[in-house]
């Protein structure tokens, strides 16, 4: 029988560290995918998608903020300091979200879809978990996330089965991004503790669920995966592609010039 923890104060020291590790992964993935989404503001191929990517970016950054606020309650730096003051190797996001989209809309769409399926499964797991404040938050965020998933479910078959060109662009995106998507489920030292405390599913279990959900939709979209693809790991332990360094240089520029600057 797993005990329910009504507040963050109910966490013992090792479980608290595991929750902090988990929250950093969730928060960093969300803010970086949000930042990548915002890069389409003003540039998406059609107006509706400009609005969609901008809105989803706003949601994802809002979700990230709630995770950073919870981290702050657990004794970590305040959200602004955490996002604008942290060094590259301290970030815990997966390479999937770090990669620069290079104005490739098919890749951005597939990346966002891969992330949203994973994020929905994580929120679902947290919502059923034993850490009450996090379960409550996850239920709230799920109610917004469903619209992101709907967006992905609409576009995957539409472009996968559209023209030869759209199909090829989507297939290239899947080929490039699938190994990075699998990398989202890189196991960390927190897996066992979170599982034992009933807070969050193990990463390998989440990965199984993600693969099943994504395979189904890719199949319906006439897109194929390379079953032998091996995951790109490293993000969870601070090893990132150069693209993330470039992103952080831009995002943290003002803060580095003057940490006390008021917006």
């Amino acid at each position: 029988m797993i005990a329910t923890m009504e507040t963050l104060n109910d966490l013992d020291a090792p479980t608290k560290s595991a929750v902090i590790d988990l929250l950093y992964r969730l928060a960093d993935d969300a803010i970086i995918i949000g930042h990548r989404g915002s890069e389409w503001t003003g540039f998406a191929p059609i107006l509706e998608e400009d609005i969609a990517f901008s809105s989803m970016a706003q949601d994802d950054m809002g979700h990230a903020l709630t995770f950073y606020q919870m981290l702050h309650e657990l004794g970590e730096p305040d959200p602004d300091t955490n996002v604008f003051g942290r060094k590259l190797e301290q970030w815990k996001c997966a390479s999937l979200v770090s990669l620069c989209s290079k104005r490739d809309w098919a890749k951005s769409l597939v990346r966002k879809y891969f992330y949203d399926v994973a994020e929905s499964l994580r929120l679902e797991s947290l919502a059923q978990g034993s850490l009450v404040p996090l379960a409550q938050l996850a239920r709230k965020l799920s109610s917004e996330k469903k619209y992101h998933l709907m967006h992905g479910h609409m576009w995957m078959p539409r472009l996968g089965q559209g023209t030869d060109e759209s199909h090829q662009l989507m297939q290239d995106a899947v080929d490039t991004l699938y190994p990075h998507a699998l990398g989202m489920f890189e196991s960390t030292g927190a897996d066992d503790l979170l599982d034992q405390a009933g807070i969050f599913l193990r990463e390998d279990e989440l990965r199984k669920r993600w693969v099943a959900a994504v395979d189904k939709v890719l199949g319906e979209s006439s897109l194929k995966i390379n079953a032998k693809a091996s995951p790109v790991y490293g993000g969870r332990s601070g090893k990132h592609p150069d693209d993330l360094a470039t992103l952080l240089d831009g995002m943290q520029l003002v803060y580095k010039l003057d940490p006390s600057a008021k917006w």
């Binding site: 969609a52 989803m56 949601d59 239920r139």
Partner: protein, 176 residues
Amino acid sequence: MSSTDESKKAGGKSRPRSKRLRTIWQSLETITDPEIPVINIVEMGMINDVRIDDEHVTVDMTPTFAGCPALDFIRNEIRVAVSAFEKDVKVNVVFDPPWSTDRITEPARKKLKAFGLAPPTAGDCGAGQESMENIPCPLCDSTNTSLESIFGPTLCRSIHYCNECLQSFEFFKTVR
């Protein structure tokens, strides 16, 4: 002294008996979401609880969308409004119970419609694209409408087109 039981209901429908609490609730009813100026935050269901003791007031508010840019603005508006007659005001942001569009009161739904914004539906909107088709047009009530875009000018709205009166309109997306 607490109004917990009385005010847990959506939209703070049941009114607390204490005069002091009533004054606080009334002041909250003067605050609107800057993106939807026709309905106030109490009708919107954004106030989960108001608690008072001898010196302190605690207002629990819950965000409509986690990334809503108006959140800090509204939080500050609450502080300013209640501080007009209370010395010590604390505004908490809480997620229990989470906000859902079911909490928008009936009079507020009518105001949304009059504003030209289709009110949220009772169905499981968001389950799939089909669930966002045939949203009743706020202008002519026809359900012969099509989804144009899942996302709109604010996080809470989608864009639709009425095939009957040939107008585009926005829908307050169902969230629960």
